[in-house]
């Protein structure tokens, strides 16, 4: 950018790009696709740090305790969309007692003060109260998207506040929340003039909704693309709703059980025939496979099918799925069995993600014929398959080795063999060889859950080979501290590690303390931890919060416990906010 070709001037002037004003950088950064890219850019130099943070629009806080809400709001003043996650993942399975924390209120309050232009808010595994929802409705004049996933603490009264107050709401997406039903007709609180809804998902709501009001809402929201209903909507009402929204792209049917009536079938079939844009289908299809053919006309266009709450089994289910030749995502119950998965393998060649859930996880007697065979077939025939969650009761090393060879492109592999410590059922060996093959072959693997009988050997492989692995879940595995040491001293990209019921002690933690600061969090429950070393870890690493959790019934003060006191649950995470102040009595920060 210098002028002319004058070489006489010494090359001491700073490179021209230093002089570019911040606005230019902010514009350049707006093209960066991911948060990690923006983070990298922000770390380069002070001027980029300044430009980046002032222009960041989308913020993801993966651990609500990693930073204080006010600090986050102050650092990124231009945020329009924020996502905050709270409780550790194992809270989903009941391993975190109530009142643990993760309140959304401080985040909503800070946002209300510092981000008046906020448009999108998303909370996952947090306690969201009605007051929070009221605050949201009152504080952000252009609020458009509310997404609550696996949250609790609110009721239909809070939803009423959102409906009444958010004039520009586009998305109300409630996924798997615990919502108290206060019998308030919250849907009626969307004004008649309100037409901006694009996504409405209330599938997790247990109570009734006023169907007439819903029909009117659906009719006037001409841009509605996603509609996911709850169990309270009967089948004939479903048909009329679908008829009113033929532009629908994603449909969730709620509970789909009714006795077979030919006229109801015809009604449903006619409604579906009008849905030329339907791509994603879900619902708790409870029974009555006779209704499935009503959806045949949309099968060809479906890219996503979630029947994981559907207890339909048998030939009708398989016939239905075999028509869905363009499926990219399939979630299903193990009632599909191996022969059903064989059909999936031959019909759905574009499949990218498969999840198979157990229909009777606690009842070993209720045997469903879903084995390693099904997974082998699908991985052999679906070249784009990259994400798997599979619950089954038996597995072999050979099957896993075959799967690994067929599908080196896995990014997410989660296998849950239901009975802990289950070995290879043919050779009775641990499944070390199988899982080792997976991590050696799948170089892009980002998420892994292991199960079955496993020794420290498998962790040596994982530590050495799983270089892109970001999240690892381990249960009932390993023989000694070495297992954990292999993981912590390897796994270069590890962010989240969750462990339960493994014979791992605290030595590997102390030996790899610095590693813990490069990770987002570590969870260890029912392992062999004692209090003294945990306190040592905390002293050594001031930027980690080391939380120790014991039986809620025995909240004793730390001073009365000895170094050898067992620690039932350890939750360690990096933070710049210091120890949190909202711990319940049974959690202690050491």
């Amino acid at each position: 950018m210098g002028r002319g070709g004058s070489r006489a001037a010494p090359a001491a002037a700073a490179p021209p790009w230093h002089a570019l004003p911040d606005e230019v950088w902010e514009h350049a950064f707006s093209f960066l696709p991911s948060a990690s890219d923006r983070g990298a850019v922000a770390g380069s130099c002070h001027s980029w740090l300044r430009a980046e943070r002032r222009s960041r629009r989308r913020l993801i806080v993966a651990n609500c305790y990693a930073a204080a809400p006010r600090d986050a709001v102050e650092r990124f003043p231009a945020v329009r969309a924020a996502e905050v996650k709270g409780k550790p993942h194992f809270a989903d399975f009941g391993l975190v007692p109530p009142a643990w924390g993760a309140a959304a209120e401080p985040w909503v309050a800070a946002a209300a003060d510092g981000w008046p232009l906020l448009e999108e808010l998303s909370f996952k595994r947090m306690v969201v109260t009605d007051e929070c929802l009221e605050m949201i409705a009152a504080s952000f004049r252009n609020f458009q998207v509310l997404r609550l996933v696996s949250c609790e603490g609110f009721s239909t009264a809070g939803l009423a506040a959102i409906a009444a107050g958010c004039r520009n709401l586009r998305e109300l997406d409630l996924q798997e929340n615990e919502i108290e039903d206060c019998s308030i007709h919250w849907l009626s609180l969307f004004p008649e003039s309100f037409t901006s809804l694009v996504t409405l998902n209330f599938s997790c709501l247990e109570g009734d909704v006023n169907i007439t009001v819903l029909e009117r809402l659906v009719t006037r929201c001409r841009n509605l693309k996603t509609l996911k209903l709850n169990n309270a909507i009967p089948l004939d009402k479903l048909a009329s709703l679908v008829r009113k929204a033929p532009q629908i792209v994603e449909l969730g049917t709620g509970r789909f059980s009714a006795d077979y009536h030919p006229d109801l079938f015809a009604k449903l079939e006619a409604a579906c025939a009008g849905c030329k844009s339907l791509r994603r289908l879900s619902g708790a299809w409870d029974a009555v496979p006779e209704y499935l053919p009503a959806f045949y006309c949309v099968c060809e266009g479906l890219t996503s099918l979630n029947l994981s709450y559907a207890t339909v089994r048998g030939p009708e289910l398989i016939k239905f799925i075999s028509r869905c030749k363009n499926l990219q995502l399939l979630w299903v119950m193990d009632l599909i069995e191996d022969h059903g998965l064989a059909v999936v393998a031959s019909s759905c060649n574009k499949l990218q993600e498969l999840r198979v859930f157990p229909s009777a996880p606690f009842d070993a007697a209720e045997q469903v014929s879903l084995t390693e065979r099904g997974l082998v077939d699908v991985s052999a025939s679906c070249p784009m398959l990259e994400s798997v969650l599979y619950f089954c009761r038996r597995m072999t090393n050979e099957a896993l080795i075959t799967i690994a060879k067929n599908r080196p492109n896995f990014t997410c592999f989660r296998l849950c063999i239901i009975e802990p410590h289950t070995p290879d059922y043919i050779t009775h060996q641990p499944l070390d060889a199988g899982f080792s093959a997976i991590v050696e072959s799948c170089k892009g693997l980002r998420r892994l859950s292991v199960s079955g009988l496993l020794t420290d050997r498998v962790f040596k492989s994982i530590g050495a080979h799983a270089n892109r692995l970001e999240m690892l879940s381990i249960a009932f595995a390993g023989n000694s501290d070495l297992g954990l040491h292999y993981i912590l001293s390897g796994c270069k990209s590890l962010k989240k590690l969750e462990i339960r019921d493994c014979p791992f002690g605290d030595k590997p933690l102390l030996a790899n303390a610095a590693k813990l600061e490069t990770m987002r969090s570590l969870w260890m429950s029912s392992c062999s931890l004692t209090l003294g070393p945990c306190q040592q870890l905390a002293r050594k690493m001031p930027r980690l919060n080391v939380e120790v959790m014991n039986d809620p019934r025995r909240a004793c003060p730390l001073d009365s416990l000895t170094d050898e006191s067992p620690v039932e649950t350890l939750y360690v995470y990096r933070t710049i906010a210091g120890p949190r102040s909202d711990t319940p009595a049974y959690v202690q920060i050491v």
Binding site: F90, D92, F93, G94, L95, P97, A99, T129, S150, E152, G153, E176, E178, C204, N231, A284, D286, Y309, T311, R313, G314, F357, P358, S359, P361, F362, A364, C416, H421, S449, T455, D456, R457, K460, S473, A475, F476, N479, S480, L482, S489, R500, D501, P503, G505, K507, P508, L510, A511, A514, K515, S526, S528, P552, R553, E564, P566, E568, A585, Y586
Partner: protein, 250 residues
């Protein structure tokens, strides 16, 4: 890149590391016994762990074996030891298929939803499947005065009032009053097992339920079977609010 360690916590000399990872045949339990001590004379500094703590037998894990072994090793007061034993007995009493908390890893939301949907019966098991669901409710909502969220319990999972109140204790961080007293009373279940105390405030709570007719009753009045047949939802009330529901024996 980890900084140099001040202490070699893992006690891994190269020889020990190699020996420990040497591939051997045999079940994990036996292997460990040989592998650990025979490792080229270099002691692994694992002796601070309670004996047996690092080794896991095949069946141990199913009923929370680690916890049992650890607690044996640590010094405990006599009272706690008794409670521990009782809990272990409870855990081991059912067959090896006893449910481990949070395993298999299925979201609570999914578990609740599946409980509402009865599976489509196979044709030959039609009659059985229709009878199998108990009369009345399985999952009932439990609310506690002052708690901002609801929980759910599956009444089918409990055999008597004591088990139910223990489960509620865990859920709501309250505890059962008169727990040890009712130990001695054989067969006398009911009200004495259902008195709960708020852990934080020390105020007494009452366990009540709404029955089929919509009336609110005190839990423990009727035989267990009758209770599970008619209970629609549970509510843990603060003591004073429960006036008028009936006296309870002290």
């Amino acid at each position: 890149m980890t900084p140099p360690q001040e202490r070699d916590y893992m006690g891994l000399s190269p020889a020990a590391a190699v020996a420990a990872t040497e591939l051997r045949l045999g079940l994990p339990g036996t292997e460990e016994a040989e592998g650990g001590e025979a490792a080229a004379g270099a002691p692994l500094t694992l002796d601070l762990l309670p004996k047996g703590g690092a080794k896991r037998g095949f069946a141990d894990a199913i009923v929370g074996g680690t916890a049992g072994q650890r607690r044996e090793a640590a010094a405990r007061s006599k009272e706690e030891e008794e409670e521990e034993e009782e809990e272990e007995k409870k855990a081991q009493a059912p067959a090896a298929k006893a449910q481990v908390v949070g395993w298999p890893p299925i979201r609570s939301y999914r578990k609740n939803t599946m409980a509402m949907n009865t599976p489509t019966p196979k044709s030959k098991n039609d009659a059985e499947a229709k009878q199998a669901p108990a009369q009345g409710c399985f999952y009932v909502k439990v609310s506690m005065d002052g708690a901002p969220y609801l929980r759910k319990v599956d009444l089918k999972m409990y055999k008597n009032y004591k088990e139910l109140s223990l489960a509620l204790e865990k859920m709501f961080s309250c505890f059962t009053v008169g727990h040890s007293e009712s130990n001695g009373k054989s067969g006398r279940e009911g009200l004495s097992d259902c008195r709960l105390m708020d852990l934080k405030n020390g105020t007494e709570l009452l366990l009540t339920y709404e029955d089929k007719d919509g009336d609110w009753m005190l839990v423990g009045d009727v035989p267990w079977r009758m209770f599970t047949g008619s209970c629609r939802r549970l509510r843990i009330m603060k003591g004073p609010d429960a006036v008028g529901l009936g006296k309870y024996s002290s």
